[in-house]
């Protein structure tokens, strides 16, 4: 029970932006921090992911609950080396280990926000017609996509704003901290978008099947799809 209470208090300290708590945590309990943040990401993003996929049935709910945390972990692994290098090159003094810790903390805060929003998301999903209903299915698919994109973006922006404060505080200079943070952000957005493309489907477009991965997950990329979509519009 006391471990659960301690874990809960740690979450709250993270969300409140308690810098002394974070400093102590980063310096003293490295392994604990990594496993703790990973648990938060699995729980928070998993719960929220389940409510996204639930509209297409329990099976899809379970798939998205697994895939949403996976996007974060794969992005961090793919960018781990680059993030550490950028931290050093940009003069922040934040090396490989600390860059992973900081980013895990940022994503953990985002997961806590998403986890807290998952009851609301669950209620919204229950109020949406099933994707099997033919009438207005494209409109509902679009509405679902838009709502979840907005909520995830909100959680991401809020968490990264918090992370920016942390990085500025811990970097050798505030300016170098800001540069490092935005370099990490750009790299993670660039790679994260492609990983989410590879791990599709999440929302299951009308007419397509429910499956864990598409038959051709590595065929094409996110940016090509955006260019094709823009061409279709104009």
């Amino acid at each position: 029970m006391s471990i659960a209470v301690q874990s809960f208090q740690n979450v709250i300290s993270l969300c409140r932006g308690d810098k002394r708590f974070l400093a102590g945590w980063i310096e003293s309990a490295q392994k604990e921090l990594v496993s703790y943040c990973m648990s938060l990401i699995v729980l928070g993003c998993g719960a929220y992911g389940f409510t996204i996929g639930l509209r297409n049935g329990l099976e899809m709910g379970a798939y998205v609950a697994i895939k949403l945390p996976l996007i974060i972990f794969i992005t961090l692994i793919a960018n781990g080396l680059l993030n550490g290098l950028l931290g050093l090159v940009l003069g922040s003094g934040i090396g490989f280990r600390k860059s992973v810790q900081f980013l895990l903390i940022g994503f953990a805060i985002m997961s806590v926000i998403l986890g807290a929003l998952s009851p609301v998301s669950f209620f919204v999903t229950l109020n949406m017609p099933s994707s099997a209903d033919v009438a207005g299915r494209f409109a509902w698919h679009g509405a679902s996509l838009l709502m979840h994109t907005c909520l995830i973006a909100f959680a991401g922006i809020t968490a990264h704003t918090q992370l920016l404060h942390y990085v500025r505080e811990f970097a050798d200079s505030s300016r170098a901290g800001t540069h490092t943070f935005f370099a990490w952000l750009a790299g993670n957005l660039f790679v994260g978008a492609q990983i989410s493309w590879n791990l599709r489907p999440f929302f299951v477009s009308p007419g397509l099947n429910v499956e864990f991965l598409r038959e051709d997950p590595f065929n094409g990329n996110f940016y090509e799809a955006v260019i094709v979509a823009l061409k279709n519009i104009f």
Binding site: I113, V120, N127, A143, T158
Partner: protein, 252 residues
């Protein structure tokens, strides 16, 4: 358990009142000690006159759950009264179904929005107990319920004068938005008085709570007007779609 841990390091009210007088800012804002205990009538009075003193009590004293429970009781009583008046528009089953739907719908909405309120207030820099945040949420519902009771005679007047369920529905939605607006204002004031540094997240939460409650009226429909069935869970609709269709039916 967390509450107990926090209590052990917290100043007791005797110590606070004995050593540190409340600041001029606190006195002006009303964030001062609550007099008269957590009884139903006293809390009802304080909710209208000195609402911030309720949060002061929640933060500094050991009456952790007594105040939120009394606030829930105030909410249930006032929303039941308001629901009964709404039910008089249709009579029949609606006389008991409308209060039941309004009370249960609002309580469920509050429950599913509680985790996000707690996390958003934490992100906004508020260092408050969980029970205080529960109290904030309960006070939104309780104050809104009390104000709705104030509007009940107006609702009754229109319900006996009008036959249009769409008009009554829109009027009730407008009244709900006005009343919950007062509740939101109270929470913003409480947040600022307790040291909240960023209220942007709270604003987003207020928007989410409003959307959830308005959607709840569509989920639990019909609350106003007669219907063969008490609930209509099979046909799922977004509230904007539902109300635009209802409006179109009337104007056609």
């Amino acid at each position: 358990m967390k509450e107990k841990n926090q209590n052990s390091t917290r100043e007791t009210p005797e110590n606070i009142s004995g050593r540190i007088p409340p600041s001029i800012g606190d006195v002006k804002s009303g964030f001062v000690s609550m007099e008269g205990g957590a009884s139903f009538s006293n809390l009802l009075s304080k909710l209208l006159r000195k609402p911030l003193s309720i949060f002061h009590e929640l933060e500094t004293k050991d009456v952790l759950w007594k105040i939120p429970i009394t606030l829930i009781l105030i909410s249930v009583v006032s929303l039941t009264v308001f629901g009964l008046v709404v039910g008089t528009f249709s009579w029949g089953n609606q006389i008991w179904a409308a209060p039941l739907k309004i009370v249960s719908g609002l309580m469920f909405s509050a429950l599913i929005c509680l985790p996000s309120l707690y996390i958003f207030t934490c992100i906004g820099g508020l260092e408050a107990r969980f029970s205080t945040v529960v109290g904030m949420l309960c006070s939104i519902v309780a104050l809104s319920g009390l104000l709705l009771v104030g509007f009940a005679p107006v609702v009754w007047l229109f319900s006996v004068s009008s036959t249009s369920s769409v008009f009554i529905g829109f009027m009730l939605l407008a009244l709900w938005m006005i009343c919950v607006g007062f509740g939101f204002n109270l929470v913003f004031c409480a947040g600022k008085a307790m040291g909240m540094t960023n209220t942007g997240h709270l604003l987003v939460w207020c928007f989410i709570f409003l959307l959830v409650t308005v959607q709840m009226t569509t989920t639990l429909r019909p609350i106003v007007g007669k219907s063969e069935s008490l609930f209509n869970f099979e046909e799922k609709k977004f509230f904007l779609q539902y109300w635009s269709e209802e409006l179109q039916t009337v104007t056609d």
